[in-house]
């Protein structure tokens, strides 16, 4: 059994945020196999979203 399958099994066994973690594992696998950066982009996207939301909230507080 390859490592991906083992990780998949472990995620399922752990039983917490299974869908999200399997999806993330799938993304990492795709990046690993293709040299892509889906996960990195997703990470950046979420970080930007937080930054933007923080900036908007900050602006609101200033007003």
């Amino acid at each position: 059994m390859d490592l991906w399958s083992v990780l998949e099994e472990r995620i399922k066994q752990h039983g917490v945020r299974v869908d999200e973690r399997l999806e993330l594992l799938e993304g990492l696998k795709a990046d690993h196999e293709t040299g892509g950066d889906l996960v990195t982009e997703r990470k950046k996207s979420l970080a930007h979203r937080v930054e933007d939301a923080a900036a908007r909230l900050k602006e609101k507080l200033r007003v």
Partner: protein, 716 residues
Amino acid sequence: MKPTAITVSRFRGWKDEHRFALDASITSIIADNGRGKSSLLNAIEWCLYGAVVTKKDSGIDERQDWELRTRTEKGDAKPTCVELELDIAEGLVKIRRERAAAAKAREADPLTVEDPNGDVLFGEAAESWLIEAGIPDWETYRRAHCFHQEAARQRVVSTNERSAILAALLGLDDDLALRDTIESNQPSKLFAGIDKTLDALNDEAHRVLDLPRQRLGELERQAAEIGLESSQLSESNAKSIRSQLVARARDLADRLSLTTDLPDENDTVAVRTWASKWPATARSESPALASLDGHRRQASQLDLHIAKYEEEDGAWQETRSKLQQERQTGGDEAQRDAAVTTAETNLSGATNALQQNNATVKLLVDAKSAIKAASRSDECPVCETSVPGLEERLETTIERLRSDEFQALQAAEGDTRTALESAESARDALQKLVRDEATARGRVEEQRNKLREVLDIDESTAVHDVLAEAKKRREKVGTEITKLEGLASDRDQSIQDHQTNWGRLDLIEKWLSASEKAESSIDLSALHEWSEFNESLDELAGFGADLAFLGGLARDVQAERSTARAAEVNKALGKYYSLITQDDTAVLVNVHTTPQGISYDLVDASELPAVPVLNQAAINALSLAVLFAQSEAQASVNSWELVALDDPVQSLDSEKQKGLSQAIEELADSCSVLVATVPGQLSERIQDYVSKQRHIVTLGPWSQSDGASIESEVDQ
């Protein structure tokens, strides 16, 4: 699960159909290079895994230009075919893969599996059967049976490279790469960045919530500094100050004759706008004060000319006084001229008397000389009259005239000369005083004319009138200046009062605004932006937590798998490595786990570093030892029971080839071994020294017409 035979047709070097028995413990394929040894081993791979073992997809560099089908005559419609016969617990299974002669490049090569019951499975069902039966996948098979050839070509220098090649030999290099992928995506840096954002946001929230109160306190301190009590920080006081500001400005504007628009005192915005600009307006735009500088310049000019006039006039009065006094004491100009004339006459008389005395002496001297020449000392040489003692008398007279008389006449002449000089000096002094008085008078006249110019009056005005007029004018200008300076002072005071009151008003208004802000509470939870921020943060936190979880999981799993694989291999690795290398060192794979990652190395039984130099021969020996150890372990659990070795003697010297034959013999106790090798020490030792059942196949020369061929087959 033991392969017992393979049949090939039109597969790479093999053109016509050939069947090879694999049921012996050791099957040795002996042939020089280019006779089809590797093709036979490749046939097993293709039969089990299909097109993935060819070309670039195989993961083996040298298969880049692989040709699957044997080049045959045009019109040959027979397919490429490989059939593998497997002995499993239930009986014989035939696995067959074909490729049609006219198949296109991307066309799949159909697989069939005939089970012990004679039932035939096709396509996906056949593929599923392979998986369920426990046939290793291509990646596993490739690593086990092909990697020793690839590893033997590598040069290993660094510790990391040693670790990497061991990981690859153990089939754990993907675990390493995956771990790297997961680690490289760990959220620590991301969270550090987000922490900064949260800190900044927290600071802002803190500022928003606390600043108004801090601001209020600060404003109250500032108010105290300018004498404003807390009770004065009120709207009513602000209104009162606004009213005062406008009223005083109106009064000042009237006094300064300023035409300006003043704001409505109830319009707070207009008052704020106007109040900050009013001091500049009041200072620069007053017609009433515009003449102040002109008056000051005029006063300064008058002061200068009056002072100059008075100075010159004083000098003139002094000179004139001296002149009058000189005339009174020493006589006027006519008297002094007469005195000079008299002195000149006296001097002339004294001079004549002196000259006459000198002429007389000369005459007497001549007479005395004549008497002496005539030797008649008592007779006058002129009238020849006899004068007794004439010569003596002449001598006495000459003596007297030359001494006493001459001195008296000379003294008289000196006195008269001194008297003349004194008279001339007195006359010259008076003349100088006259000239000085005239010059001083001229200067006074000049200053008077300048005063006239300044006062703009004509020349008919009397001298004293010009000065008096100037002083009168100066007094008038001075009065005007005093009046204007009073107005300017009042203006400055008014502006100063305005600025003081404006400062107070500004402070009160800021305090009122800050007070209003401080009293209004912010309900963050009601803000849409707050909800959005929390949602995005939750999602990011979940994502980050998942990444961190996966990172931990990957670390744990990699460690477990590494340890398990090493334990599996280490059961027999030392044995096979010692056999192949003919070295007593029983090497073991050591897994070293740290928070930074996992590394692999070779140690001896005492866990001290072993095989310090990993040259090509050592790598080949090690890779074969790992393969044998893994195969032995897998065969023990009834898994795949065939080890295919394609030309395994690469880089191995004679001693190690001997050791390899012993290792193959040892491995044959656990599973079948298929060895393809060139004629040489290994093939000879398998043929002559190994005690296990052997099937020896010698391949003949490859020909264009027939392809690969079997020269001989012997069972021993």
